[in-house]
Amino acid sequence: MSGYELLARDLAACGRDGFTGEVRVSGSPGGAFHLHGGLVVAVESPGAPGPEALLLRSGRIGGEEWAALVRESGGARWPAAGLIAHGYAGAAQLRVVCAMSLQDAAFAVVAGSVDGCERGPAAGPPPAAVAVGEPPTRLLQEASRKLRALLALPYPVRPDRERPTPAPVSCAATRLGDLRCELLAHADGRRTARDLAFRTGRGVYTVTVEVARMLGEGLLECVDEPHPIPVLLPADGGGLGPREPATPAAPPQGPPPGPDASALPRRRPGASGINEALTPEPNGGTGWKEFFRLRNPTAR
């Protein structure tokens, strides 16, 4: 039984049983299907950007703002209410992002290799769950249909296999769309279609199809040999020695108990010099009174 058949059989059984919980899929990239009452409400996979990555990487919200929303929502992984309240996205947009992310992650799991599946209880509320879940069989059928369509292209590409670079002809290409310009900018011979999807904040299926088309049109090309990794150390390993111990050896004995090097650094009062700066000098130099006068020039 192939990995896909195994996954299809287990998820279909979850649907029949009205299972609520998590199905963890081992493999590459693998992932986790979150189910509620036999319907898939969220899918997470290292192979596809989740809703958070889609919002952050597309620039719809900054990292600091996201962190503030997470704090505001009490540590929720998907602060949907805050995103809407602060105007970063509308409720309908978030529903679309979650649904697209679910489909995309299912595609990433199906397009990779599946080693096994394991049911388990839900570790918590599923992140970025859709309101109306997808029947698992239909979800997998749609994912495998996408994979077949991708592999039927003239230059078939796997999300985690090819690492394309811009072809020389791409420099002269004009009237390229936004996605193609971004892919040309980020394709460096090291990134797969999956990596490019994360980098650009777009779905992995969308990016993989576009990479396949661009390879077919000669805008991108795949080099046979990967970039060499230069090693700077001489072959005899010269210059490589053990790190110095963090704690010096303790003296064998000694009456004065010196500062313990392994202890936390201790701050000495007055080390900053602020007291000297603010203490009144005998000759009438700066002092606390002068400090407050500087802060509030009208004070007497």
Binding site: G50, D188, V231, G238, G239, P242
Partner: protein
């Protein structure tokens, strides 16, 4: 030292764990040995930061009686940077995007760290 074997280990790790974007190996003092990094990363600066970060984390672990340091991981909104000690002589940096499964990375890294340590120290010992 077998340069090709070291490069194979670094590239193999990137292909083994989905989401790894860059790797670098440096001496314990922060001198860069090898980098499989994108052009946007300064590998020498990264190696120096990794040595300083691991040193600080090791010192913190000792000062707070947390035992031997395993690794440090810096999480950002666009991914994370993991720093591992390679034996007593070197360190390895792994950068990943937000999709990388960090637990899977830690599992996959352990055998690679042992092999990289052997690659670095075997020939170094022979060359002395």
């Amino acid at each position: 030292m077998d340069h090709q074997a070291l490069a194979r280990e670094m590239r193999g790790l990137r292909e083994q764990v989905t989401g790894i974007t860059d790797t670098a190996v440096a001496a314990a003092d922060g001198l860069l040995i090898a980098a499989d990094t994108a052009d946007s990363i300064d590998p020498e600066g990264l190696a120096a930061l990794a040595a300083a970060g691991l040193g600080l984390a090791r010192r913190t672990s000792e000062a707070t009686a947390r035992g031997a340091l395993h690794r440090t991981v810096a999480y950002g909104s666009h991914g994370c940077a993991a720093f591992y000690a390679v034996g007593d002589t070197a360190l390895m940096v792994v950068l990943g995007d937000e999709g990388m499964d960090v637990e899977r990375l830690h599992t996959a890294t352990q055998p690679a760290l042992r092999r990289i340590d052997l690659i670095l120290t075997r020939k170094a010992a022979e060359g002395v």
